[in-house]
């Protein structure tokens, strides 16, 4: 039997998978592989010809102190942001899985910063660090608020961390809540009858049972922080003295401020390899710790 026209298998394959494959091929796959080639060229982005320079870009990168500093900053920032946002998110989730009356309202409020884009969040906080903190400092006399928050390297670092934690912990909280409400009550009750304290129950029963959620939350926080761009662009622009310049911002500046597209793509290739390595490593490590109830 010969099938005809629209019912032919290859036509169906084309109709169903064609459009999405085309968009993916042109927007993701093609530029990704072109980037690999451009990493080995010198190219200003304007002219059509990129000169092949071998490993020159990579030699330059390993001597580029600003890039190395941006990696150091990104690493430190990621560690601080992942730990703090998960701690805050987890504590909020613990709080909201208790029978508190206002939990729906509280959940909405804690989640709210997350829906606002990083760029606008950074601007809001720029005002708070510059003007808001000064006013609070004047009223309370606490010297913490009178520091030049965005003007000093240490406080600017923590400024970026604070804004990130404020905006992401609500999202992580939602993930932890959905895991916590599925922890079987009888296990917790059995443990309390056996004399386990609240801390012991949390440490030995709740946490192991919600490890899948921990995997997801850590994975998300890790990839958000490591790729941080918008918040930093609008909050500090990478300053003071490039001290809060993330790798993503460094690549952006190299490509679009300095017009070194070849060098920029080489940096982006290194960035990709590092992101791919840490995320797979992290998922692998936490997956091994998951247990069944």
């Amino acid at each position: 039997m010969k099938s005809s026209g629209w019912s032919k298998s290859w036509v169906q394959q084309l109709v169903f998978t064609g459009p999405v494959t085309l968009a993916f091929a042109i927007i993701i796959a093609l530029p990704f592989f072109m980037g690999m080639y451009y990493s080995f060229t010198e190219w200003n982005g304007v002219s059509d010809n990129a000169t092949f320079v071998g490993l020159d870009n990579f030699v330059k990168i390993f001597n580029d102190q600003t890039f190395i500093n941006s990696f150091t900053f990104t690493t430190k920032f990621t560690i601080a942001a992942v730990i703090l946002s998960n701690l805050v998110g987890f504590m909020l989730a613990l709080l909201l899985t208790q029978p508190v009356k206002s939990k729906n309202l509280l959940r909405t409020i804690f989640f709210m910063p997350n829906v606002i884009g990083g760029l606008l969040l950074g601007f809001i906080w720029q005002f708070i660090f510059v003007k808001g903190f000064a006013a609070v400092g004047e009223k309370t006399g606490w010297s913490l608020f009178n520091l030049p928050w965005l003007g000093d390297e240490t406080t600017a670092f923590w400024g970026v961390v604070i804004v990130t934690v404020w905006s992401t912990s609500g999202y992580l909280m939602v993930i932890y809540i959905s895991a916590l409400i599925n922890v079987p009550r009888d296990l917790i009750e059995a443990a309390s009858i056996d004399g386990a304290t609240a801390m012991q129950r949390l440490r030995h029963i709740t946490v192991p049972l919600i490890m899948p959620a921990v995997t997801i939350a850590l994975f998300l926080a890790l990839s958000w922080s490591f790729k941080s761009f918008d918040i930093i662009l609008s909050l500090t622009k990478g300053g003071p003295y490039n001290s809060t310049q993330s790798v993503a911002l460094n690549i952006y500046n190299e490509a679009f401020q300095n017009n070194n597209m070849g060098l920029g793509t080489a940096k982006a290739l290194i960035f990709f390899i590092v992101v791919a390595l840490i995320t797979s490593l992290q998922v692998w490590v936490t997956k091994r710790k998951e247990v069944q109830a």
Binding site: Q12, F32, K103, G264
Partner: protein
Amino acid sequence: METKPYKGSTLLLEIIGVLLALLFLVPFYFLVSNSFKKYGDILLDSAALPNPWTVANFTRAWDIMNFPASFMNSLVITVSTIVGLAIICSMGAYRMVRHSSKYNNILFMLFVMAMVIPFQSIMIPLIKVASWLNLTGSIPGLWFAYLGFGSSMTIFLYHGFVKSIPLEIEEAATVDGCSPYGVFWRIVFPLLKPMTVTIIILNSLWVWNDFLLPNMMLGEAQRTIPMSTYAFFGQYTKQWDLALAGLVMGVLPILAFFLTLQRHIIEGITAGSVKG
């Protein structure tokens, strides 16, 4: 959990929760209250309530930012992207699940693997590809780019969901003479609705808030809300009265979206990340 009695310790937790919520809201207080102040009053005391209140900042910022135009651009881009992604990705994922040939499995693997590629690893050559294909400087061009960037995650989410739909219904429809396209649009797509809601929510938050891609692809003439906020803030640095009014206007649409649909949004996000 509902059966637990309301004890003194719960009251304490309630108070802690409310205090934390107030702390979370402080930035919004500073943002909103100062946007209604005259410039001098902001410098004088940014923690006080406005006295007198003024809306002059808003009318000026509205005009300078050309707010209605930016709002419409953001809306058109976001809506067309989520509709386009829902259509092409549900179709693609459906085919990949139901005809899991070697080719389709490899294709699906490519979509999944691409999820770890950071935007920065694509953006530089993308500009070149986009200008070859005349995608720069136009909203349809940006729309096409969003279809590419959203495809990986959307395919991945639909793929997992299609697998959970029983095959029997489709077989029955085929026996009754329904074409493969009819089976998909009349039977499968309606069954995908919970995942479609999740996908619409995740993608609309992302596209609405995205700054870098539209900034690279559109020109000065067509601005989205994040772009016009960025331009406005750059132009009026330290002119806090105008800048804050502009920020309030930039934040309001997405906050209104969230507050109206918050239950769906929080559920959608949980479903999206637990599956992902």
